[in-house]
Symmetry: C2
Subunit: 302 residues, 2 copies
């Protein structure tokens, strides 16, 4: 299954001509999930040629404007383009009211149904299908704020073609074997599953964590993730400012990545006081080498 993260913006509160606000597209197989939706996200979606009507689930981390002021504009555009499929919107308490009041005043009857799902506790399973599970993560911010972990489900076992041939396994039996069953032929002969299959690839996981102060409780939920996005609004020189505003430094993000044994870290949500972002890498990589910047337009494979 394809599993990737497209960065559409990684600025923080003040958008500029050159830095867009936080928004990401998470592609898992045939599904596109939109994660946060700062002002101008719909333009970013167009720019990066994302098929907006393929997005069926939108996740909002919290109700600070740089994470959701683009939502109602995007919904409005989906309506104007004639969307029919229902759309699921996941986020904290208050989001439904904010969106609905705007459409009510606009006198719009939307062409599609919006279904709001309130995220209200860490560990909450907010989405699940046969291949994917999405769970809310605890973050520590000035207002209620949730990260989200996007996880593949356990995959079927991998068939060993040579073994299938050797034991003459018929096609009809193969699906059950991928699910772990032994093969039993008409005469009662049993071929144990482990002779026919090997372990599948481990299910992969991506954790999105923004905005948050350094928060040890988060670590219980994101052990061993393949890809971790953790905000890094500030550098060490603004450590106090980070604490005051419930944000993290590059070193905080690297610390989390190291402590949970993540395979790879990306950082974003940079304060626009920093013209160059290289120092985020210099500081964080002292502790966690496999770290990159969430630069607009970059695609990270999970």
């Amino acid at each position: 299954m394809s599993f990737s993260v497209l960065i559409m913006g990684s600025g923080s509160a003040l958008p500029t001509v050159h830095s867009n606000q936080t928004s990401q597209i998470i592609e898992m197989g045939n599904s596109l999930f939109l994660m946060d939706c700062g002002e101008g996200t719909q333009i970013q979606l167009r720019k990066h040629k994302v098929k907006v009507q393929k997005i069926d689930h939108i996740f909002i981390s919290h109700l600070h404007g740089d994470h959701f002021f683009g939502l109602v504009g995007l919904l409005s555009t989906m309506h104007l383009l004639g969307r029919k499929n229902e759309l699921h919107i996941h986020g904290p308490k208050g989001l439904k009211e904010i969106v609905e009041i705007q459409f009510r005043n606009a006198g719009n009857h939307l062409s599609f149904e919006m279904l709001f799902h309130q995220t209200d506790h860490a560990g909450q399973v907010v989405y699940e299908d046969d291949k994917v599970i999405v769970t809310a993560l605890p973050l520590k911010h000035r207002i209620p704020c949730f990260g989200y972990k996007f996880q593949e489900k356990e995959k079927p076992r991998k068939l060993k073609p040579a073994a299938l041939e050797k034991y003459e396994i018929p096609n009809y039996a193969r699906h059950a074997i991928t699910l772990g069953e032994d093969f039993r032929d008409g005469e009662g002969k049993v071929i144990p599953n482990k002779k026919l299959t090997e372990d599948p690839d481990a299910p992969k996981a991506y954790a999105y964590c923004s905005d948050t102060a350094y928060y040890p409780k988060l670590q219980e939920f994101i052990q061993e993730v393949d890809l971790l996005y953790h905000e890094a609004t500030f550098l060490e020189s603004e450590k106090e400012r980070a604490a005051q505003t419930f944000h993290s430094t590059a070193m905080d993000a690297a610390t989390v990545a190291k402590e949970v044994n993540a395979k790879r870290l990306i950082v974003g949500h940079f304060s626009n006081r920093y013209k160059s972002k290289e120092r985020f890498l210099q500081e964080g990589r002292q502790l966690f080498k496999n770290m990159d910047l969430a630069e607009e337009g970059k695609v990270f494979e999970v």
Copy 2:
């Protein structure tokens, strides 16, 4: 007094990478008025180097998203940049609630005071100082919608330097003369005002009219304006669509300009179905020659 209109966007409902939504800056002397505020307006303000903290009055025509979805983001930015001056926001019923609910959920206590002024009838004087008067205009749209007329007040009479010298008019008396008074010296001699002054330049007026169907009632309010912005979402080929959606064609806009004897017309709010905008001019100029497109970045002197 300087009096100009900067176009920051003139697309209609669907924003694209190349066309921003409706927003204009009207500069009158030392005042900057922001007229409508589609998504991304704050980025346009930066791009065109407008000093956002100098904007003390924002006018919103109506509560369709392409005219105000950028407002709360702009207010948020003004706050983050430490604005202290109070800000006046003029618009239809519902706007205050929409803005306030978003800041309430964000847990923000703004650094400045927002004062909401509800526009609720045509002819309402929504702003006035010693040089400027702004009046609400009636428009005909699917939901309550107002245009705004920005008008200079009557100017002082122009002194004639040669006459002042000839009649030996002292400095202290000159201000009263600009207000129309005759000059009377210590010995009772009277010099009539008309010998000392000439008529001032006529006060200028700019009328902003978007979104609206062709609406004869509007014409009572905008006779002889120097500059008229009138929406032209469609061409004549989509005349029916224009009527259904309470929008205008280029020909409708030209008709209004001709009927009110405007000096100049600019049209905007183009549907993005039209790749080239030249046909708007071709159609409208058949009726009203002095017509231009409201292209982003253009400045029109009133």
